[in-house]
């Protein structure tokens, strides 16, 4: 059976090796009544700078949580580098070490220093003794300092995290994720609340890291303009559905797909909005 499929579609394996994230017909809900996401299909090529855009409550954060195993779909399948996300699966747990996740709330440990927060990203590389005595190897501390200067926090490494400004906190969260030596970076609206200049600085920083480390960056944005400016592909989520996916190269749209809905349905939704 499998063999037949292969012969029928010889390019199948070639294409699929490039797909770091694949979701097919994924639905999930927080309660049993409403779907937070419904029948999501998407596949993300390794090294892409992927953006997810949508209104508040559309399900963007939920989509990210599915990508690092923090949420499990109620139906459909997800493959992250060909492994189904599952915290209890040793193989996936190992993969989590290299999935950088910057939640909307950032999730910094407030009462410890900037440096200590960033070193958390290196925890999976410590052995039991090192982590018991909080003894990070010298090269990890050097790496942490390199990342601190990369994100522009030099001089603040010994400041408690709660004493930082919003923008500085975001830089710490980014640094913690980079400390993981990530292959995938998930970032949830990390520039939405920042002024334009700082937002650009942070976006450039991630774009640089992405190119240098061959990262797959998946970033959630409120602002479509920002998404189009930085991303190669943009998915638009509305009310738990992926309605559009756009491929961008420079200033030109090279690919335009309607997602899980037909064009008429999308138009219908916008018509509804207009009526309201």
């Amino acid at each position: 059976m499998k063999q037949i499929q292969m012969t029928q579609n010889p390019s199948f394996s070639l294409i699929s090796t490039n797909k770091i994230i694949q979701m097919s017909d994924v639905s999930t809900s927080y309660d049993s009544r409403n779907f937070a996401l419904e029948k999501i299909n998407l596949s993300i090529t390794r090294g892409t700078n992927y953006a997810i855009v949508g209104q508040s409550g559309s399900g963007k954060s939920t989509l990210l949580k599915l990508m690092n195993g923090m949420m499990i779909p109620s139906s459909g399948t997800i493959k992250i580098d060909y492994i189904s996300p599952n915290m209890n699966n040793k193989k996936f747990k190992k993969m989590m070490h290299t999935i950088g996740y910057i939640p909307q709330s950032l999730g910094l440990v407030k009462n410890i220093t900037v440096l200590d927060n960033i070193l958390i990203g290196a925890l999976p590389r410590l052995n039991k003794m090192q982590s018991f005595f909080k003894k990070f190897p010298e090269h990890e501390i050097i790496e942490a300092r390199r990342i601190i200067s990369l994100v522009g926090l030099t001089g603040k490494e010994n400041r408690q995290a709660y004493m930082l400004s919003g923008g500085e906190k975001r830089r710490v969260a980014i640094a913690r994720a980079l400390m993981q030596k990530p292959t995938i970076l998930l970032a949830d609206e990390i520039v939405s609340e920042l002024d334009h200049v700082t937002a650009k600085e942070i976006m450039n920083l991630i774009a640089d890291a992405q190119k240098k480390m061959n990262l797959t960056a998946i970033m959630v944005h409120h602002d479509m303009k920002l998404a189009l400016e930085y991303a190669n592909r943009v998915a638009v989520i509305k009310e738990g559905h992926k309605i559009l996916e756009i491929g961008v190269e420079g200033d030109t749209i090279v690919d335009f797909q309607t997602g899980d809905m037909t064009t008429e349905e999308i138009m219908g939704m916008y018509a509804d909005d207009a009526k309201k």
Binding site: Y101, L106, G107, L123, L126, S131, Q160, A173
Partner: protein
Amino acid sequence: MTPKNNILIGVIIGLIVITSYNIDANPLDFVDGFSNLGIILEEILVLENIIDNTKYVPSALLAMFETLQMAFIGTVVGVVIGMPFSMLAARNLNSKFVYAPIRTLLAIVRTFPSILWAILFVIVVGLGPFAGVLAIILYTIGFVTKLQFESIETIDSDPMDAVSSIGVSKFQLIRYVVIPEAASHLLGQMLYMFDYNVRQSAILGIVGAGGIGFFIIQYIKFFEYGKAAVYLFVVLIVVLGIEWISVKIRDKYIVKSQHGMEVTAK
């Protein structure tokens, strides 16, 4: 005030009357016996008695020092032993199969007042402060773990989620997120526990488990109220002193960092 509240107050007053009758509580006894207090006070407050009794102050201080040692060792060891149990009892860190039995165990430990532990350990290890220390340790474990796991359960889930998503071990999560996030609470609870254990240790001597209480009960037994008063006075001063110091420490280190937490709700 609603009729429901009135009924509730009526019921409470009724219960007080019934239970008083049951335990033989009689206000008249109290009034009659009040004059006894006068006799004791008279003995204590006569000036030459006071001067005479000051010579017991050094030995009282020594006994109080033993009490403080008992409280200190008992608190530190109890808190240290209690900590892993608290981690296992916290619902946000464990499955039901882990926290439920641990909580039950701790609840059983908690049902014993320290004086009962003291009696038990006097039987096991004999009279003296060691029995008292063991009693304080057990009592501390039962009591402080409840404070600890409750505060662990209230820590912010955002950093917990963010760091778990890295795939760290549970030990690392506790060491690098849970303890730092709960540190100010845990420290505050330890101070509170020490405060409380000093008072308790002062009493445990009554059952022969060391400390200043042993002398106080001896003097009372032999109607030497003046000496007992000196010892009680030393307890009062030291307890007040410790209370004052722990308030200072709390203000300086704990309140400040909690303020910081509030500021950074985001």
